[in-house]
Subunit: 344 residues, 4 copies
C-alpha cells in the first residue's frame, strides 16, 4: 500500500502517518519527491488499512498494490479450477450448456423442457423453484414442490440440475436436491448466504451483482472459498447501465478479464443480459468467442405463456438452432461443447 | 396496461393477443392508428402481465399505466406516514438527526460518541453491531456484544437506537435491542429479510440499493408493508455511477421524488454518499433543503482511528458545527430539527 | 403517440389536452379505462410533441409509438446498406478489418504499420492526424502533415484510409485525403459536424457517444443521412459505466440490436472498449460472433513507445495472431474476412 | 507518477522501465517491497506518460500523483475567481440567478419572460438562439434573429444575457451579442470550440458533460484557461445514470467538490437535472445549500406551449415563489442573492 501525501504536508503531518503506522505494527518507507512525499507501507497490511489511512488529514490518496482477494486469484492458484458435476467437467476445455425454464411452473412444463434441451445438446438443466421477484405480488416459485419436480427431471433425463437458493435457511434443503447451487445477482453481497453456501460441499454458481465491479465479485467468491468450498464458478449476466434497450448490458470483457484475474470458471447468461429472446443467440456466441466456460440459457416450451421471463426465453426451435452454431464458434476458438451424459 | 403492436402486425397477430388476454380472463380494447394498432387491456391486471405480453411475437412494447406498488403510494395514502420512535416523530414537520459511529468498536468509543452527538443535538443514536463487508477478511462488527453496548448507550443517554440487521435469522435478536431496524443497501432486494422485518412491529429504515430505481426501492418497501408493518422509512445514500471522486453519487432529487410518489418518510445519508468527511456537511444541508425528513450521519471520536468508514466520519467538532447550520437551513424551508429527549 | 392521463384527471383536464392537440392540427382518440383515460394522438406527429404534451399538468406520461429516426431505420430500408470503399464492400457478407496506429507519429511508424497490417490481412488503414485529447497539454496529432503521410501510405500499400475529423472547418480538408471520415465518440452529438459530414460524398464512420443510447446514436446518424449522405456506418466502442477495470464497457448487444433496428453497417472497436491490449483479441472475436460487419483495431510497431493509446494497441505479432482466429470465428457464423486489395 | 510493477517482474523488467524513463529524460527512484517493486518517476512528467508506461509489459499500474489540470486548480490559485458581468459579480458572496426560456421563440415570449424573471429577482437573462437537438427534425432555434431579440431584451431590462454557442464558427457572432457564452453538455469535449471560446474576452459557462468525471470537466475548463481567458464558470446540470425518473441525476456533491478542487465559480442547473418542473425548486434550494455560486433556471410564460423543455420549465408564478425561498436558504448558509441591476 502506498500513501500519497498532500503537497502541503510538512514533516509533522508525515510523522503523524508514520506514527499511525507504528501503532498498527507497520512501518513506512519515505520517498520525497519535488512536489510531494510518498510513503510505502512496510509490513502485513489488511483491507481496512486503506480506509484508515485515507481518514488522516494530510493524506491525498492511498493506493493498494495488491489485490484484496487471495484464494480466488490466479497468483494463488495459476491452474484453472475444474468442477466436476456428474459426468460434466466445468472449467476445462469443454464448454457446458445449462438450459431450462426460468421458473418451474408444472411437471409437464419442466419435463418437456428438460427432454427438449437434452435432445438439443444441453448438459445441465436449470430451473427455479425459489424465485426472487422485484414485486411482492409476483409469482415466486413453487418452492419445495419445485425442487421435487427438479429431482424427478434429473432422474428421467440424467441431467444434473442447477437451481437458485435465496436465503441461508434454505441452503440445506436446496443442497439436498441441486447439483449446483445458484446465488443470484441480488444476493451477490448477501454475505451470510455466501458463507452458508461455503459450508456445503456443492458447487456454487455466483452471479455478478447488477452493479458489482469485478473486484467486488471476486471478493464475494472469496467468502465462499474462505469457508472451504473451492467449487465456485462465476456467472456474467449483464450489469446495469443507462441503456434501456436491453434489460442489462452484457459486460463481455468480464469474461476474459475474470479468466486473467482468477482460476475460477466463468459462465455467461445471455438471457438476463439481453432481456429479449432475439438477442440471446448472438450474445451466447459472443460469450463463447470471448472465452466463456459455459452458457446458462432460459428455454421454455411456450415463451408467450411463461409465468416469468418469457420475453427472454428461447423456444425449443430457437434453442435447437443455437447449439450447432455454438459448436462451430467453440471449435473456432479451439474448444468444444460438452456432450450430454448417456441417457439413463 | 397498453399493448403496442408492431407496424407489420395484421389481423391474425392482433387476434392472437386478444385471445391470450381472454385466456387470462382479460379483454382488449382496440385502437387502430394509421401506423399501428394499440390494445388497451381491460380487467384486473397483474405484474407478470407486462413480461407475458412482451413475449408475444408481434408485440412492439407493453406500457404499464399504473404504478406497481400500492401500499407505498401517495394515491393509496395521501397523508404523510409519521413514525413515532420514543419521543421523536419521523415524517412530520420536525427533521430527525441520527448520528453515531459506523461500527461499535468498544464501550468507550460508543458511549463517548453517544454523549457527544446528543450534546450536539442528535435525537437518535446510530451504530452497527453486524457490519456487511465487501471482503471476508475485514472487521464485521461485535455482533451480540455490540447490541448490548447499544442498549447500555440508550439507557445512559435516553436516545433511541437504530442498527442494521443483515440476515433473516437475526431479525428477532436485533429487534429486541433496536428501536429502528436498518436494512442496508446490499440487502434492499433480500426479499426474505424484508418479509421478516415486515413481521415485526419495529420501525424499519430501508436504504436504497446501490443501483436501484425509485420504483424498485418502493417495491422493496412494499414487501415490508404487505406483511403488515407500516412503519417504513426510506434512506437515500447515493447510487453507483461512473464518478469516482465520491464513494457514491447522492441522488438528491430522489428526496422530493419519493415525497411525491410515497407517503413514507425519507431520510438522507450524506456520509455514505460522499465517502469523504469534507463533503458530508454540504450534502447534509442540501438534503434538508431538498425536503428530507431526517439525516443519518457517521460520527467518530477519532475518525483516523476508526475501524470502518473513518474517511467519511465527522469528528465531534465538525458534527457540532453542522447542527446549527442544519437548523438554519431547516428554518429556511419551514421546518425545524427535532430536539433530543430530556436527559435521563 | 399515446397520452396517459393522471388518475385524478377529470373531463376538464382531458378537454385541455384535446384542445391543445387541436391547436396543433391534431386530434385525440379517447380510451377511458377504469383507472384512467388514455388519449391516442391522431395526425402527423413530430418529435417535440412528446415534451410539449408532458408539460401539461394532468398528463402522467407520453409514450411515443414510432421510432424518432426514419432514414436510419430498417422499416424505411429493409435491405442492408453496403458501402463501397475502394475494392472493399462494408455491410455485405464480408467482414472488414481496419487497423493501424492510434495517432500518426512519423513516416516510419506509419509506413511500417501500414505494411504490417496489410501483410496480416487488414483491408483498411486507420490512423489519426487530428487527435481529440482530454487534456490541452497532450499530443494532439500532426494535423495536415499527418494527412499527407496517410495519403502516401495509401499510395504505397493500396489500402484505403480512415481518419478522424474533429471540427466542421476541417471536413473539406480531411475529405480530400480520407476514404472514410471518422467522427469520434466525443463528437457524436456535434450536430454541425454531422451535417458538414452529411454534405460530403465520403463514407462516414460514426462512433457511439460514451453515454449515448442506441436511439440517440441512430438519431445522430440521421443527421448525416438527412443531408443526403447515405454512406454511414456505426461503430460500437464501449460505453461508460461504473466498471473501471476496462476503459469502457463494450456493449456487445448493441451489435445485433443495431442490425435489427437499422440497415447501416456496424463496426466494433475492441481497442477503445478494452483499454488493455490483452483483452482486445477476445473482444474482437466476440464482436464477430455477435454479427459485426467489421473491426477497427489499434496496432503499433512498439506499443510501449506509442505517443497515444499504447496500452490498448496490439503489436504486429499479436495482431498477426488475431486475424486467423477472426477468420475462423467469421466462418463459424457464415461469413469471411474481406481480403486486402491486390498490392499496387 | 508512481509505477507499480507486477509481482513477477524481475531485475530485467525493472531495468526496462528505468531505461524507458531515461529515454524520455526522466529517472526512477526504486522502492523494493516484499511483494513487488515500485518506481517513483523523477523529473518533469507529462500527461501521456501514464499511458506510455502502462503499455510496458511488466507494469501493473501507473498512479499519477499530481492533478492533470493546473490553471483550474486551487493549488495554482487559492483565492476564488470572481467574474464581473455588468453589475453582477459571480463567484463572490452573492448568488446569481440566471433565468429565462430554454429557446427564444418570439419577441413577445422573450420580452415577457425577461420582464417577469427580472421582477421576480433574477439578475441574468438566459435564452437560446442556437439549440442543440438530439433529432435533426426538431426545432433548432431562431439563430441570428434570436440573438437580436436577446440584445433587445437586454436593452429593455438591463439584464446581462447568457446564450449558447454550438460551433467554433459562431463564436465571434455570439460573442457580439452575449455577455456570457454558454458551452453545452454535448460540447464539453468539443476542444476546438473550447479553444475558440478561450480566445474571446467573454465569460464562459461550461456545462458538465453528461458522463464527464470532475477531472475531465476541469480539463475542459483548462482548455479555455490555457488560451488566456480566465473568466470560466462551471455548471452542474446532472449526469447520466440508470435512473429514469429524472432526466438526469443531479450530482449535488459536485458543487462542494468543485469548490474544493478549483477556484472557478460553480453554477447549478436544476431544470436539466430534474427534467420535471415540480422537482426544480427543491433541487435549486439543495444546490444553494451545497454551496452553489448561482442557479440557471428555465422559465416560460406558458410551459405547456413551449417549443422546447416545457416539462422542466417553471411558469412565472412558480419562479416567483422560488426566489424568496432561495433567499432564505442563501441566508442560512451565510450568503445572499445578487440583486437585479437598477432598471434602465
Amino acid at each position: 500500500m502506498i500513501v500519497i501525501m498532500k503537497s502541503e504536508a510538512g514533516t509533522r503531518e508525515i510523522d503523524a502517518v508514520l506514527q499511525r503506522l507504528n501503532e498498527m505494527g507497520l512501518s513506512g518507507h519515505l520517498s520525497r519527491g519535488v512536489e510531494r512525499t510518498i510513503i510505502g507501507v512496510v509490513g502485513q497490511t489488511f483491507p481496512e488499512l486503506k480506509e484508515m489511512l485515507n481518514a488522516l488529514e494530510y493524506v491525498e490518496d492511498v493506493v493498494p498494490i495488491s489485490k484484496p482477494f487471495k484464494l480466488a486469484s490466479r497468483e494463488f492458484q495459476p491452474e484453472d479450477t475444474i468442477i466436476q458435476v456428474g459426468n460434466v467437467r466445468i472449467g476445462g476445455p469443454e464448454i457446458v450448456v445449462m438450459a431450462g425454464p426460468c421458473a418451474i411452473e408444472s411437471e409437464d412444463q419442466l419435463m418437456d423442457t428438460a427432454r427438449a434441451v437434452k435432445a438439443a445438446g444441453a448438459t445441465i438443466l436449470r430451473a427455479g423453484a425459489f424465485k426472487p421477484s422485484t414485486s411482492p405480488y409476483n409469482f415466486r416459485g413453487l418452492g419445495k414442490e419445485g425442487l421435487e419436480l427438479l429431482a424427478e427431471a434429473r432422474k428421467q433425463t440424467g441431467l444434473p440440475v442447477i437451481t437458485e437458493v435465496l436465503t441461508p435457511a434454505d441452503v440445506e434443503l436446496v443442497a439436498q436436491y441441486a447439483d449446483i447451487l445458484q446465488i443470484g445477482t441480488r444476493n451477490m453481497q448477501n454475505f451470510v448466504l455466501l458463507e452458508e453456501a461455503g459450508r456445503t460441499n456443492k458447487p456454487v454458481m455466483l452471479k455478478r451483482g447488477m452493479s458489482a465491479t469485478l473486484q467486488e465479485w471476486l471478493l464475494s467468491a472469496e467468502y465462499i472459498l474462505a469457508r472451504g468450498n473451492g467449487q465456485v464458478m462465476l456467472c456474467e449476466r449483464g450489469i446495469r447501465t443507462f441503456e434501456t434497450y436491453t434489460r442489462n448490458t452484457m459486460d463481455v470483457a468480464a469474461i476474459p478479464a475474470i479468466a486473467k484475474l482468477s482460476h475460477l470458471p466463468i459462465i455467461a447468461d445471455p438471457s438476463h443480459a439481453a432481456g429479449r429472446w432475439s438477442l440471446v443467440s448472438p450474445l451466447a456466441l459472443a460469450s463463447i468467442a470471448a472465452g466463456a466456460d459455459g452458457l446458462i440459457i432460459e428455454v421454455h416450451p411456450s415463451p408467450d405463456h411463461a409465468l416469468k421471463d418469457g420475453a427472454q426465453s428461447l423456444n425449443f426451435e430457437n434453442f435447437g438452432r443455437l447449439l450447432p452454431q455454438a459448436e462451430s464458434v467453440a471449435a473456432a476458438v479451439g474448444r468444444r461443447l460438452a456432450k450430454p451424459t448417456v441417457t439413463i
